[in-house]
Amino acid sequence: MIDKILVENILNEALSTGGDFAEIFVENKTGDSFYLVDGKVEGAISGKDFGIGIRIFKNLFSVYAYTNNMSKENLLKTAKKAAEAIKGTKEDITINLIKKEIENKHKIILAPGSVLKDDKISLMKEAYIAAKEYDECISQVRINYGDSTQNILVANSEGVWAEDTRVRSRISIESIASNMNDMQTGSYRPGAAKGFEFFKEIDVKEYAKEASRIAKTMLGAKYAPSGKMPVIIENEFGGVIFHEACGHGLEATSVAKGLSVFAGKIGQKVASDIVSAVDDGTLKNEWGSSNIDDEGTPTQRNLLIENGILKGYMIDKLNGKRMGLESTGSARRESYKYAPTSRMTNTFILNGTSSLDDMLQGVENGIYAKYMGGGSVNPSTGDFNFSVMEGYLIENGKITEPVRGATLIGNGPEVLHKIDMIGDNLAHGQGMCGSVSGSIPANVGQPRLRLKDIVVGGR
């Protein structure tokens, strides 16, 4: 993507004013994106993202600059301008770039670039028809298809030269159910770090029908009750609760500066005994996986919580420096337009042993959350919220009628202690996670679990 000698020159220029570390991140990303509504392809765009990010450290001070004017003159000018933010004299650093051989753990069978656009569109139509024909009340279906192939190069003054290719494919199905007075929606968005083979491995029609089933169910549903009550959260995307309640608070991004409610709590009990959780960027072909992180460090499986005890954080280089700890391969960024920082990859709670019957037993009034929507968290206070896409009442130990419009709110450190049962059906769901280094693909996951009580915001 870029000449080695030029990279060395850029790094040297970046270090010319006394920086102690310099890094470049070059990205070349292509992809297709299609939008289908009313059964017809309505939008189609393809593109090429190409640019470079240059980062310099001087102790804990960091400078970041990016550009997509890739001329040699401009790149050296950009490095020089970035270096000007540091006031010092050049340190004795010799740059000796050595290419890191990295095993590709995420094999791609059908590269998206080699697949006909017509095949991608046929897939969307299949999903459309399955969703639309599910029921008469389905008034509209919107399908988005997207694939991307991101080639990256990371090189730094410590001699790292690492390259990676990340291929991702995703289809998003949104069904809208209508009657005389109301409209409700249901959606499903499966994705993976795979090529087009992903859509041959899954049954897209089943996901489409499920999206329509959710919309239809919610159309007839009454509003959720409000107040504190027990809640059972299903597996897969239900894991968004851990992502919001705890995951963000374990990113060095907020831990290093002591801004997280989980800062300084390693070795302490932060969750009930049955909770163990990990962030694993190595899972084969999963949505949040990659061979190396965006600083060139190989991804790894990071144990976060074991039997309720806080074991580790997710750490990038700069925050690691502040914390006196090594990177855990957790540095991520949306593109060259963002300086990397520690982020989640595939984050999930490990399996427990409880059955659904165990969980329902003794719940007089509660909520069963079959599918979750998204959520957000305030890492300084730990206060989080997330929405239930498809929920049901639990009455006297039985799941009864559907309810809509429930949002669950709570406080991260508190809610982890309230998980009183965990099932054995761990599964992952795909999402886009937005934070300081942009919007990145991340898996959330969990087995079904029960919260002793949490505030349900119904009406």
Binding site: G51, G227, N378, F384, F386, G405, V455, G457, G458
Partner: protein, 446 residues
């Protein structure tokens, strides 16, 4: 390759290929951000970014592509990708590029003096901002963000019908977020200012604003879960309105995903309510002389005295409805396809002061913030259930901060339930504005 040269080359190549109709949409921006943490500069970032979007008609259908790489070798793939994408489009709605001779409103969005502020002045501003926050109160535990950013952007639209438009703008902003602690109670809040005039930025005022807002939240109480009358504070309602703004899009109406379908000239809100989209607003950060299709923008009431007056259109949706476009075509930068959005959207001021609104509420809740609008609000049904920050109001006075509540209702019902509108119109960072409003019957859980 130099930008102008690249644009001209793409134009020439496309012209020589005898394409039906084509358009180049160019966006470039330059930004600088500085962050201070514990008395030191923590981060300095600078960026320059540009991209070109190309669209062309093939058999009457429009295909799009973009590139960030502006080299000779990128020209043909850019055009060819757009052509192949046009071929897969099945929607037969007529899409045209715009080429009418038009008068454009002069919008002054650029202050050349902004470039002249030195990095030292900016750093000194931030150091003062952070220091002030710590000195204001011993309960200030940390300053999470203390940052200043400035940026400039330009936009060119050039097409085969002779359109050749240019617009540029710049701005500077400062943002501070603080965490305060009193015993077990930890709260945070933030304050920001966006302007084109550095002298309007007062670090003491900004720090005081953020610290006071956070301190006021300490030692919060829980309340009974039930229905309350509420005041939704100006920028908080602006956030909700902004998240629902898609309901006005003619595209959403035509696709049957807006509840406003068939409601033109019907009463859909309390007669007190007038909602405006004004692309010509002085100092508005959404202001622009033309939309993403190059059509002159115009000021219009979307809701007037409670009655829905118009949807917002681009050329395609207008043609389909047999009306004139409202000049609301939008593109999410060079990577987007053509959509529809507002410029400066706001609920018009009423006559009541904030103090008088509190008096009218008498007993209820003042809502000062919503979280999770992207998930707790269904922008189609209008149902919302949101994590909410707020205060108890007793006998017309703000008394106690509330701990972890949710507010639930429906946006369309809420428009009808607005009882009184304040005179404190304020815009949020997304160019959506509102005064504070008094609403009855919102479900609150605690």
């Amino acid at each position: 390759m130099e930008t102008k040269l690249f644009i001209n080359k793409v134009f020439e190549v496309a012209k020589n290929m005898n394409l039906e109709e084509f358009e180049i949409y160019f966006v470039a921006s330059e930004n600088e951000t500085i962050k201070v943490f514990k008395g030191d500069v923590d981060t300095y970032s600078s960026s320059q970014n540009m991209g070109i979007s190309f669209r062309t008609k093939v058999d009457g259908k429009m295909g799009y592509s973009y590139t960030e790489s502006l080299e000779e070798e990128d020209i043909l793939p850019l055009i060819e990708r757009a052509l192949s994408n046009g071929k897969v489009i099945e929607n037969l709605d007529v899409i045209e590029t715009y080429g009418d001779k038009s008068e454009y409103k002069k919008i002054d969005s650029f202050n050349p003096n902004l470039d002249q502020i030195s990095v030292e002045d900016k750093i000194n501003f931030l150091l003062k901002l952070e220091k002030t926050a710590f000195e204001l109160d011993s309960r200030v535990k940390s300053v999470n963000y203390c940052m200043l950013g400035s940026g400039a952007g330009e936009n060119i639209i050039k097409n085969s019908k002779g359109l050749d438009l240019y617009h540029k703008g710049n701005s500077i902003y400062a943002y501070i977020a603080v965490v305060v602690q009193d015993g077990e109670s930890i709260k945070n809040d933030s304050a920001y200012i966006v302007t084109r005039n550095f002298s309007h930025m007062d670090p003491v005022k900004l720090a005081t604003d953020a610290v006071n807002k956070a301190l006021n939240k300490l030692n919060s109480i829980s309340i009974e879960s039930k229905t309350y009358n509420v005041i939704i504070q100006n920028d908080t309602f602006a956030d909700l309105l902004g998240s629902m703004s898609g309901i006005f899009s003619a595209e959403a109406v035509q696709k049957g995903v807006s509840k406003l379908k068939g409601k033109i000239n019907e009463l859909i809100a309390n007669p007190l309510v007038t909602i405006v989209d004004n692309p010509h607003l002085k100092d508005g950060y959404g202001s622009s002389p033309f939309d993403a299709e190059g059509v002159p923008t115009q000021c219009k009431n979307l809701i007037e005295n409670g009655i829905l007056k118009t949807y917002i259109h681009n050329l395609k949706t207008a043609k389909k409805d047999n009306v004139k476009t409202t000049g609301n075509a939008s593109k999410g930068g060079y990577k987007g396809t053509m959509g529809i959005s507002t410029f400066n959207l706001y609920l018009e001021n009423g006559k009541t002061s904030f103090e008088d609104l509190l008096g009218k509420l008498d007993n209820g809740i003042l809502i000062t913030g919503f979280s999770g609008l992207h998930s707790g609000l269904n922008s189609i049904s209008g149902d919302f259930s949101l994590a909410t920050e707020g205060f108890l109001v007793e006998n017309g006075k703000i008394t106690k901060s509330l701990n972890q509540i949710t507010a639930a209702g429906n946006f369309f019902e809420l428009l009808k339930d607005i009882e009184c509108i304040g005179n404190d119109l304020k815009f949020n960072l997304s160019s959506v504005g509102s005064p504070s409003i008094l609403v009855k019957n919102i479900s609150v859980s605690s």
